[in-house]
Every structure is written in structure tokens, then in C-alpha cells.
């Protein structure tokens, strides 16, 4: 188990390095630089700044230097917010984004599991069809539509919840963004659970369990549910990526001080280290989620432990 973890983490390193290098090269190929602000800098200052941040070195040298620093956990200085290091910015934004994404993922799992199991127990019936249509609708709802719509309804029209802002992590401020972010994933998870259960319930071992005289609920929860969750586990990686992507929009819509906004702002300002830092962190998070999915497989179906 430990050996597996180590091996997977080791294989993740080249992947992460590839992301960093790709983003790095892309940014340097693009026209424009970090010091093209509103007011022009005099050439001497500009040259001094360029040298100070190592931007005059050959590209490969810059990449290596960055990777070496990264290996020590140093994301480098921000080129635009000159008083902050990228590590500071990430440290301030990450808790917001993680809270948002983590809560949304939990909510999506809860809604998806309950809806999927409920639909499967009423397979073929009216409730099943209604639930499936509702879940399809959820998957097709983009966060940037649901977000504003939720605000329109609950904040502006009804006035029950605040329109935007972080509010220091106050639950009332969190509710709408978390719900908006969770809905599409909830739809996808619900459909996966429903389909997985339909497959699992048709399997031989379920008939054996029924032949043992077990109650339908016990058959469903003890014998059918775990194999049915395998597709949900493989969805974890994409779901995490979806959460991160969705968070960019949600943080914009609700004006939350998270990483997604740093990313968009950083890209617009050509703040290379900031953008690289966020992309690297995100890639790392997704790698972690895929690793978690791999470990889950082993628990869900011991045959996959090899």
C-alpha cells in the first residue's frame, strides 16, 4: 500500500514538471510582459527589474531555476503585487478555494448518492424517470448561469442571503456559492450512481444475496452499492478539476478572495510566477484526487488490488 502510494507520487512528478514547463513556455511565447503597466517605466529601471527577476536569462535556464526553487516549496516573488511572494498570495487564497471546493464536493456527493440510490430503488417507475430528468438538468446547468440566478432569487428577490463576499467564512455567505458549484457535479454523480446500481443489481452475486433471504435494502446497501461506486471513484479526478474550474467563475460571481481570481488576475497582468504557482498547485491537487480515486478502487473492489 505504502509502496503503491510512493510509486504513484513519484510518477506524478514528471507530470507536474510537464505542466509547469508547458505553462512556462506558453507564457514566455506570448507578447507583452509584466512591466507593461499603465505608466511606462524608464529603460534603466526596466532592465534592472528584468535582471532582478532573472527574466533576461535563456528560457531553459529560467525553467530550471524555477523548477529547482519549486522543489524547495518556493513559488517565487509576485511580479505585480511586489510586496507579496506568490506563497503569501496562495496562502491567503487557498483556504477560501479549498473550503468552497471541499464543501461543494461533499454536498455533490451527498445529493448524488441519495438521488442515485433513490432512483435505483424505484427503477423503471415514475419517480425514477423524474429523478433522472432532474439530474440531467443539473449536469447541463452551467455554474455561471446558476450562480447569478441563485443570487437573483435568494439574495435580490427574497433577501434571505447576502449577495456576495466572503464574510470571513460565514456560513450564510458560503451557502449560495457552494450550492452553485455543487449542482452540476451532483447531477453527474447521481447519474453515475444510478447507472452503477442498475449494473450491480443485475449481477450474479446480488441474486446469491437475494437467495440468502436478505431484505431488499440490505441487498442494495451491503452487496450492490460498493461495486456501483467504482464509476463514481473514477469521476473524482474530473470532478475535482470541474470544481477548480467552476471556482474561477463562482469566485468572480460572488467576489470571493480565492485562488481562481488570483489566477485570472495574474494571467491578465502577466504575473508569471503567480499564474505558474496556481497552475502547479491545481495540477498537484488533481494528481492527489486521482491518487485518492486509485486507493478508493481497492476498497470498493478488492479484485483491483492486484
Amino acid at each position: 500500500m505504502i509502496a503503491l502510494l510512493l510509486r504513484r507520487l513519484l510518477t506524478a512528478i514528471p507530470t507536474l514538471a510537464a505542466v509547469v514547463i508547458l505553462s512556462f513556455v506558453l507564457m514566455r511565447l506570448a507578447p507583452g510582459g509584466p512591466f507593461d503597466g499603465e505608466r511606462a517605466l524608464d529603460p534603466a529601471t526596466r532592465a534592472a527589474l528584468t535582471h532582478a527577476y532573472g527574466l533576461d536569462l535563456p528560457l531553459w535556464h529560467q525553467v530550471l531555476r524555477y523548477l529547482a526553487r519549486l522543489a524547495q516549496g518556493d513559488f517565487g516573488p509576485s511580479l505585480v503585487y511586489r510586496d507579496f511572494t506568490v506563497t503569501d498570495l496562495i496562502a491567503s487564497g487557498l483556504p477560501v478555494s479549498l473550503t468552497l471546493g471541499g464543501l461543494a464536493l461533499l454536498l455533490a456527493l451527498a445529493i448524488g448518492l441519495v438521488a442515485g440510490v433513490a432512483a435505483a430503488t424505484r427503477a423503471g417507475g415514475r419517480a425514477d424517470r423524474g429523478l433522472m430528468i432532474a439530474l440531467t438538468l443539473l449536469t447541463a446547468l452551467p455554474t455561471f448561469v446558476t450562480g447569478p440566478l441563485l443570487v437573483l432569487l435568494f439574495a435580490l428577490a427574497l433577501g434571505w442571503l447576502p449577495v456576495s463576499g466572503w464574510g470571513g467564512g460565514d456560513p450564510a455567505h458560503l451557502l449560495l456559492p457552494v450550492v452553485a458549484l455543487a449542482l452540476p457535479a451532483a447531477g453527474a454523480i447521481g447519474k453515475l450512481v444510478r447507472a452503477g446500481l442498475a449494473t450491480a443489481l443485475a449481477q450474479d452475486h446480488v441474486r446469491t444475496a437475494r437467495a440468502r433471504g436478505l431484505s431488499p435494502v440490505r441487498v442494495l446497501l451491503v452487496h450492490a452499492l460498493r461495486p456501483a461506486l467504482v464509476p463514481v471513484a473514477s469521476y473524482l479526478g474530473p470532478a475535482a478539476a470541474g470544481m477548480l474550474t467552476g471556482a474561477v467563475v463562482i469566485e468572480t460571481v460572488f467576489a470571493l478572495p480565492g485562488l481562481g481570481r488570483h489566477f485570472v488576475q495574474g494571467a491578465l497582468n502577466r504575473d508569471y510566477p503567480l499564474v505558474l504557482g496556481v497552475v502547479t498547485l491545481y495540477a498537484g491537487l488533481i494528481v492527489l484526487f486521482n491518487l485518492a480515486a486509485d486507493l478508493l478502487y481497492g476498497w470498493l473492489d478488492p479484485r483491483m488490488r492486484g
Partner: protein, 515 residues
Amino acid sequence: MTVYRVEGLRIAAGGRAIVDGVGFDIGAGECVALVGASGSGKSQSCLAPFGLSPLRAGGSARLMGDELIGAPEAMLRRARGRRVGFVFQQPLTALTPHLKVGRQLHEAWRQAGAPRPSRADLAALLERVGLDRADERLDQYPHRLSGGQRQRVMIAAAIAHPPALLVADEPTTALDAELRHAVLEMLSGLRADGLALLLVSHDLPAVARHADRLVVLEEGRVAEAGEAAALFAHPQAATTAALIAASPRLADPPPALPPPGPPLLAAEGVTVSFPRPGWRRARIVAVSDASLHVAAGEGLAIVGGSGSGKSTLARAIARLGPVDAGRVTWEGLPLPDRAKMRPAHRRLIQPVFQDPVASLDPQWRVVDIIAEPLRHLHPHLSAGERHARVTAALDEVELDDAFADRRPATLSGGQAQRVAIARALVTGPRLLLLDEATSALDVLVAGRIVALIARLQQTRGLALLFVTHDLAVARRLCHRIAVLEAGRIVEEGPIKAVIAAPAHPATRRMVAASD
């Protein structure tokens, strides 16, 4: 004392009666076998009364006096939990993959309302069904066990409560010959404590030795019923005779085979390995250093249990699978590697596989499927000549011309396998590779396909490479036999001599299991 009595059982599916008027009764310690080909309604007859089929049953089925037909699901569930146990065909998939063996036994035990079992109780249960290292097995997941071991675990769970009746639906069909024998013996032995046993099978000769009475079903009706030994010795109904003939025994007189000709194919030192699935980088050796030879018109049986590497070896020789090392010669000339096989080589050896439906491209019509080898291996033929050969091939496998325009999805298993054989024959090969070609078919259909192959062997002088786990079928078609165990050929020789005096323990077990 009568444990289970069925009278006038009726089951309908889509407005058609698939079981009509079936009746039998089983007393304590007795064994009754329901026997029939697929579609005879034997499985439905034993599952539907207990609510284990989506179909509803009519008539009467009384378990210890209580009527099951029309009873509420809650009562049926209680009956399944306490009074009757079930054993199914698929040992590989019939146990819950994510629950340890001990947990599943515990569940079955508690379901009967019995007090919580100790670990020793559960281990004793496993020992009763003949599993070694019982205590260790409790902590294993089902996939760690072999097919035969899993079937024993399933039987252990079924008799945990302990029930009055055990229903075993084709309990040995998916097992190889050796295990089949052992499991039937063990099931039969459980009757000593008064357990009533209802066996469902297509293998009449096998169950006839263990059952007290046989009920032979044909298209949902009882064709014949009576005392097992008498019925086996003097079958009255045509179905009964066909079922007996379709499962040949080693005790039957050996058939006359055409004499073999000069040497045709020789393989030396064939070794095949596969990358191990999963995270470790290792290779599993499937076949190691196997050598064999086949003469013109000769049948060679490659026999072994599941996982012994027999299919892998045959495919490697026919250049249809991977191979690491070894030499294959055809009439003294080397056969090139898989990627370098020319039409002149491919014409010589043609395969027929186990799953008839999967071996035909679902998008193609039968006529195109059979013509495919002609297009590539006899490219000089005109369209008219090709058509004539396809028609001749269909005729040879006893399918009429109307099949030419059908698609595989509309064919039965037997018809699909005939198409596959026609495709193999159409190029005029000298050797046919039969890779478990009859083992996925219904018993009666398989019997007819074996008869077809025997006829082709006579008329065409075909050499056969016959991969099988069934010694009796092998003896009907083959002159010689090569026995594989764990990727090695452990015994090789004329089939009559090997069966009469098996030298290797693996062969001895196989012979003992087959008579």
C-alpha cells in the same frame, strides 16, 4: 417425509408457457434431478416458486407443507433465509467481490435466526464442504480462491442455516471435469444429515449417478420421469436418449477414426508469457517449452484445466497469438512469425473459437463473413466462384442458402458456430484449430457440432488441434492427446493408451473425474 412437493407448475413469459404442468416431490435425504437442454424450463422451474425469477409461477409448490405460489415476498424471503439454500452456476461471479468469505458465511448464518457464530463455527462449515486451510480462508476475498473453492464457499453459505432443501442450479457446469466430479460427490454426501437435494443440470449421465430420481424436461413439459438408474439404462423419450448421447462417457466404446497420414505440423520449445496485470512489472509464463506434432488427418487433443495455458499454446502455434520463443514447422518448412504470415500459410490452418456469437462481426452478413477468407487468401477467384464456394460451405455445415443474408445477431449459438466452421472450411485448410469450440453451446447443440466435425474429419481428411477440458469429447475426435498443467505438457501419447493407463497425477485425476 416429503420436504418439497411441486404439482402442475406453470410459468409463462410474454404470453407463452415456458413451463407447463411440471410436478415432482423430494423427501428428506433424497436427491431429485431436473434434466433438460437449454430452454427446457428447468432453471425457471426451480427458481420461480421461490421468487428468484422475474416471472410469476402458477400451480402449487409446497415447502414443508407451506404453499409458496402466491405467497407474499416477505414469507418467500423468510423461506429462502431459513429453509432452503441455493447454489448457482457461476462460481466466479456469484459471491460478493468486496466481502470476505467469513463475512458472507456469517451473514448467511445469522439470516436463519441462529445465534452469532464463532470463528470456529464458520471454519468448521468450510471444512464440511471440503476446503483446506479453512481458518485462513475466512479472511480471504472471493477472487483469491479458485473456481472450485468458490463453489464450495457458496455451498457452505447455502447450508449454513442449515436448510431442509438445497437447490443447486447447474452447480458444476462452469467447472472443469475434475472439479465437477468432486463437487457433485460432496453435494451428494450432504444428504446424510437428511438434507433434500434438488439438482438442475443438462449433464444427464453425471447427475444420474447421484440422484435418486430424474425428471427429464422438454420445452417446459415432463418428457419422462422415474428412478435414475433405470431411466439412464433404458431411456424411453427421444430427449432422454439425446441428452445421454450428447454427454459421452469414457466408458462408451471408442469410435473408429480415419488413419493418420505423413507428418504435417511440428512445434518445438514454444514459450509464451504475458505482462502481469496490475501495478507490478512482471511477466506471467503461460506456456513454457511445449513441443508437439500433428500428422495429416490426425486429431491431437490439447487437454487441461482452466488456466493451464492450452488455448494460449494452440493460438501461438497457429500464429494467432503472442509467442516468446519456439519453432513451428509445416511439412518440414518453418512457419513465419505472426506478422509475417503469407496467404499461402494462413490457408493451411483455420480457427474456430469458443464463443460463436463473438467470433462473427456483428455488422456483417453471413455471406460476407464466410467470403472474407476467400477474398484475402484466394484473391484470384471471380465473384461467381466465390459465391459458389460460400454456398458449398454453407451446405457442408448443414445451413440452407437463406442464412446467407442474415446477420449474426439473428442466429442461435449453434447456427453461429456452424457459420464460423463454414468460414474456417471455405479456404480448404489442412488443419482446424478448435479452441473449446463446443463448450459454450447447449448440450444437445454441442453434440450435433461434434458430430459435424467428426464427419468433416472423415470426408476432408482434416487434421485437428482440439483444445478442450473434456476427455470424453476429445476421445471421440482425436488420435493422440497432450495434457497440459500450469503451462507444461506433462503427458503425451495415443489417447486410448493414456486414458487406459494415465502416468501423470494430473491425467489420472482427469480420467477419474470423467467416467
